[in-house]
Symmetry: C2
Subunit: 714 residues, 2 copies
């Protein structure tokens, strides 16, 4: 029996480590007469898995009239059987939502039009979109149950365990997108139970606060009971309002988790025993799925959260092609997924674009694939591999769903087909890479909460450096400077996980004024055990709920500092003179006990960085946040990491515009060098540490070229 | 005597048509011992003009102590003399503002710190930045007068008329940037004279409205006199508030014009007889200078407004390299400058970037130069050609002002130097191109007011399709679709100018619900005289001040239409089926007298486009606004233009990703083909109309390549 399995690191194809190479092929768009030819084209391009939506809008045209197999474009089972025959695994996505450029996002029109009470509401109680529903609305769930009752048993007949092709099943699609992009979180009063005895929101608050006095203290409110509690209307401006908004966000993410759990339970009830998957629509949303992942894992569900990594879907996107900004996003996204204990999977890797223009060029596409592999991707799904005509009245704008795909809607091969084939061949020839990990020379702290703090903690001159500012600094400052300086960071969780942080490499953490008690204890523990910690630009004085928490500060001797509000400053960090200050600068006149200064503002004479031994380890504090712009930034980060005891760089590279990464199984390694600019780049690269040696190579990389160098251990 | 002259179309170098090729070289940064070598390097790269700031901050370190020539970095005259000796023209920019990454933007620190009363205020009366001044504040003007009294006579000694090198003098720098980017327009109560008898703002209103009742009617206010009038705080939401905000904006632009006129008068008083120049910081600001240009021209000042065309200045910019979006911006910017009666001049064409990263690559840089020439640039200034160390306490972040320039701060040549040289050689060998005009196959209407309507007319469900929405549609819809469809538009002014619009080519105008009476009359006149006019998506019912004005609507038989608010529509335009509707769609059930429908929504059966003969001409109305995304958009615009009688395309090109333009003197022509993507592009191009023939050429363009083909008239 063929198997598609996985562990925390990678996929196992028929028991052997390898990459899941999936392609989205819709049985309802590709004409049935073409199915086999297209599937074989996909296999020729190195594919081993197929993904497809099962559109509710198509199979239940009018309420109660659910059809499968009556028309060839509704022949789901025929498609699954053919995939099985060809030896392809299948990822099935039966909704309720599909998106996929369908009317009503793939929900039946009758559902949205005849039952407007199920539509999501904004904080003022207004509907904001005709096909954005409130996931947990009882009537919506009732209708979904009926749909699932019909579609799930069909899928269940084809799972791997029953000798079928279905390896994974996805509930819904890009959850929260229909709320986030078109209005706000959902505030449906019935679903959320505002003011209702036993309602979800009052229950959530009761669990979080126990007594109403605690909530009143936290929110700065004077409620007589939880039933009176309502989410804040408008942007929060006080600490109490920030907590209130965060509470609602945490609650909302919890409701999405509850919804997911219900869908999965129904799948199980109807016989689907496959592993379950879901796709975050964008790296910035990955952390919105923490509650959901915890909840499914707690239920013993084998679950893979993936993400979608597009670089251009139309004229309004910033970039037309893969760029360093795109790569940085892919890097932290893949790392997040890895840290969640899953093989990093990109359930929508660009196979094309819904727009005919800007173009999807073969070189750009291959570049996006290779850079994702270089940065940790272990499984992927081309969205889409091939399309075809939309059955009547499902497409939201075009009769032909072409998507600039590598195999056009009419079946013709596009030049991009060769990109898929080149990539597929690379993965087949280098299946060993599936087991390879990144060789890192330092650890970069991931504070999950910062990546979801925009709504409640974006800027706050009252409290200090915010979570959202820190998230920006993490991405555009520390990470960019490190990558441009040819460092190789690996991400490590600060505010989740219980395993101690390894102390063999230094740890750089961008910190806001808020970090959970757990996170603060983990950092203290890391240093106590001998870790060398670099923090910037502030030391937290609150926990993640913005309640006072000074565990780390206490450990550091309660350091003080203040934001520099003088017109200008001139900062020297160690030997690095006049570092560009294009973020916030925090300075102090007082060194904490046992600290030694290493950074100073020449103008004021104040201290902008100090270091101190603590426990078996050491802490370096730098009072600067920045956006990578100048050579001084990379020089500074290299100096800081060196001072914190970073061993040799994993890779040496003399061009800050060529990013590199080394992936290794311990026995074999592969060096990736990426030119993510539109001009050729000259670079000299070498590897001479961590057990691998590649003598200096001077190469010229074409625009969008990702060059690989295989290295064996000596 | 060497001369640098100009007319409405191009520059004249020593009497002959040619390009002004200027490079920014700061005598105060480049060491004096290096001046001559660097200037010669610039001449070797094809340069004929040098531009330099004269920083007030450097020459008047403490108040009253104005110095020239005491240190080599203050030796302005030595520099001008050397330029003259080498045969280089000079553009001198004595401020008051410089920017140029200087402390206080180049103003003396004592000025900003000792006289805080001169600082600009936001609408609430608060200072928003330590070096953003209120231009017309009497105390600021007094200090500027003293500075000008010292610096202008020095410059005057070196003007062309006196045998010197100074061809042009610039007042201030990127006017309004210090307000717009850091806060808002300036609302300084003293400068603006709110509530003051004879104050500027009450005087402006009195001039505009004559009586207070008229103002009250317009604003929906109940003021007893003009002295009570104040600008609106916050975003306008009613029509009256929109008018009030627009009044303030018009007034503010007028104050900037008054400031410019004062500076120019002082230059003249102190003997500077050169022509005057200024640079708009960005194409989106070009139209903010209409009042200023009118005012200087009315005074008989020979004045050139230029613009700045950067594609990347740091990590936060959308693109790393020239892209179609950048080219579209350059195109409308160059066209705007041409329409103002000046040779299109880019006073800051990228010579580098203030950031070390992202990189300024040689291929990208050359591409940006060539595409600007292709799109109408006639003169330019590399910002910067070469830098050097900042004299102490003038640089706002770096000791060395390097800017990734083609000649590094230390004097070494970078690979980008070759790009400048290649470009300089091209311009020298093709000086005839200076006289060439674009060969256009249709006219695209420019409504200046739309490009400055953001603050008062961005979205307005009450009134209908707004000015700002129209400006977006103009750029991202009509222009993009036309360029992708291989059409060649030239811009024509709708709401300014008095010459009738030529009727030999069709005119496409994107219209909001507001257009000045003058503009409406011009369109009617165009059609009366036989012009063929395409308008979309609405017909105006207001003038530019949002007062009722239905001249065009009356001419068209008072057409009615309403925004489609159904969930979906399916629009067929002529033979083009199911055009993607990604903007607003306006539909009607009633055809105006004499109109014939050509577009229909299949779902509702309503009409989305009609045509009618009027006078000697014809009008086609399409009820759609869009952003270019699909082939249907280009096909539709081609069909519309064909129906409106467009003759053959200037250029035929089979790849929508390769943009082309043909520039001709009537006797010679040059075809430019541009690949503004990071992947190579294959394309077949031919020219077979407008008197020029180039047989079909199949070429492969490298990323960032601009290929030229010279064609002689048969």
């Amino acid at each position: 029996m063929k198997t598609l399995d996985w562990n925390a690191s990678h996929y196992l194809i028929n028991g052997k480590p390898g990459f899941m190479v999936s392609g989205e092929i819709h049985y309802f768009r590709v004409p049935k007469t073409e199915w086999e030819r297209r599937l074989k084209l996909f296999q020729d391009a190195g594919g081993n898995t197929v993904a497809t939506y099962v559109p509710w809008i198509l199979h239940e045209r009018s309420e109660g009239d659910v059809r499968f197999g009556d028309e060839s474009y509704r022949d789901l089972e025929g498609f699954l059987t053919l995939c099985k025959k060809l030896g392809l695994f299948v990822v099935v996505r039966p909704g309720p939502y599909q998106y996929s450029e369908m009317l009503f996002d793939g929900l039946p029109g009758w559902l949205c039009q005849d039952y407007p009470e199920i539509l999501a509401r904004d904080v003022k109680g207004d509907v904001f979109r005709k096909s954005s529903v409130s996931y947990l609305h009882p009537l919506f769930l009732e209708k979904v149950r009926i749909w699932y009752r019909r579609v799930c048993p069909l899928i269940a007949k084809h799972t791997l365990s029953r000798g079928g092709a279905v390896a994974f099943v996805q509930f819904d699609n890009e959850l929260m997108g229909v709320h986030d992009w078109f209005g706000s979180w959902d505030y449906h009063p019935v679903t959320m139970g505002f003011g209702q005895e036993g309602g979800r929101f009052p229950r959530f608050l009761e669990q979080r606060y126990s007594g109403i006095e605690t909530l009143n203290d936290s929110w700065g409110a004077e409620l007589s009971g939880f039933l009176e509690a309502r989410p804040l209307v408008g942007k929060p401006t006080t600490t109490g309002e920030r907590r209130r908004t965060k509470d609602y966000q945490d609650f909302y993410f919890g409701t999405v988790a509850e919804y997911a759990e219900i869908l999965v339970e129904w799948m199980r009830e109807d016989g689907i025993d496959s592993d379950i998957v879901h796709n975050s629509a964008n790296p910035y949303m990955n952390s919105y799925f923490l509650e959901l992942t915890d909840r499914l894992q707690a239920k013993g569900i084998r679950f893979i959260l993936g993400s979608d990594h597009y670089y251009n879907l139309g004229q309004d996107w910033d970039q037309n092609n893969p760029t360093p900004k795109y790569a940085a996003k892919c890097f932290y996204s893949n790392e997040m997924l890895r840290l969640m204990g899953m093989p990093a999977t990109i359930f929508e890797l660009p196979g094309g674009s819904p727009s005919d223009w800007p173009p999807v060029a073969p070189e750009d596409l291959l570049c996006s694939y290779m850079l994702n592999i270089a940065l940790g991707m272990k499984g992927s799904n081309y969205y889409i591999f091939t399309g075809g005509p939309n059955p009547e009245n499902i497409g939201c704008f075009d009769d032909i769903y072409d998507f600039q795909a590598s195999v056009a809607a009419n079946g013709a091969l596009r030049p991009t087909y060769q990109s898929l084939k080149t990539f597929g061949t690379f993965l087949q020839e280098n299946a060993w890479l599936a087991e390879a990990d990144q060789v890192a020379d330092f650890q970069l702290g991931l504070v999950w909460e910062y990546s979801r703090s925009k709504a409640y903690f974006d800027q706050c001159s009252d409290l200090g450096f915010s979570g959202e500012e820190t998230w920006t600094f993490f991405q555009k400052g520390v990470m960019m400077s490190a990558l441009c300086a040819s460092h190789s960071p690996s991400l490590v969780q600060v505010d989740r996980e219980t395993n101690p942080i390894p102390t063999n490499k230094p740890l750089f953490v961008a910190l806001s004024v808020a970090l959970s008690e757990h996170g603060q204890r983990r950092l203290v523990d890391f240093v106590e055990r001998g870790g060398r910690l670099i923090i910037a630009p502030v030391v937290p004085s609150f926990d993640e709920n913005l309640e006072p928490c000074t565990i780390l500060a206490d450990f550091l001797g309660s350091p003080t500092f203040a934001k520099n509000r003088a017109g200008f400053a001139r900062l020297n960090v160690g030997p690095v003179k006049n570092v560009l200050i294009n973020g916030d600068l925090f300075l102090t006149e007082v060194l904490p006990e046992g600290a030694v200064a290493f950074a100073e503002d020449e103008h004021s004479g104040q201290i902008g960085g100090w270091r101190m031994k603590r426990g078996q380890g050491e802490v370096l504090w730098l009072g600067l946040s920045w956006k990578h712009a100048m050579l001084t930034h990379s020089t500074m980060i290299t100096w800081l990491l060196h001072e914190a005891g970073a061993s040799n760089k994993a890779v040496d590279c003399d061009n800050p515009c060529v990013w590199t990464t080394l992936r290794s199984t311990g026995e074999r390694a592969m060096l990736f060098a990426m030119n993510l600019f539109s001009s050729p780049m000259n670079v000299t690269i070498s590897v001479g540490s961590h057990g691998f040696v590649l003598p200096a190579q001077s190469v010229r990389l074409a625009p969008m070229e990702v060059r690989t160098f295989e290295i064996s251990a000596p």
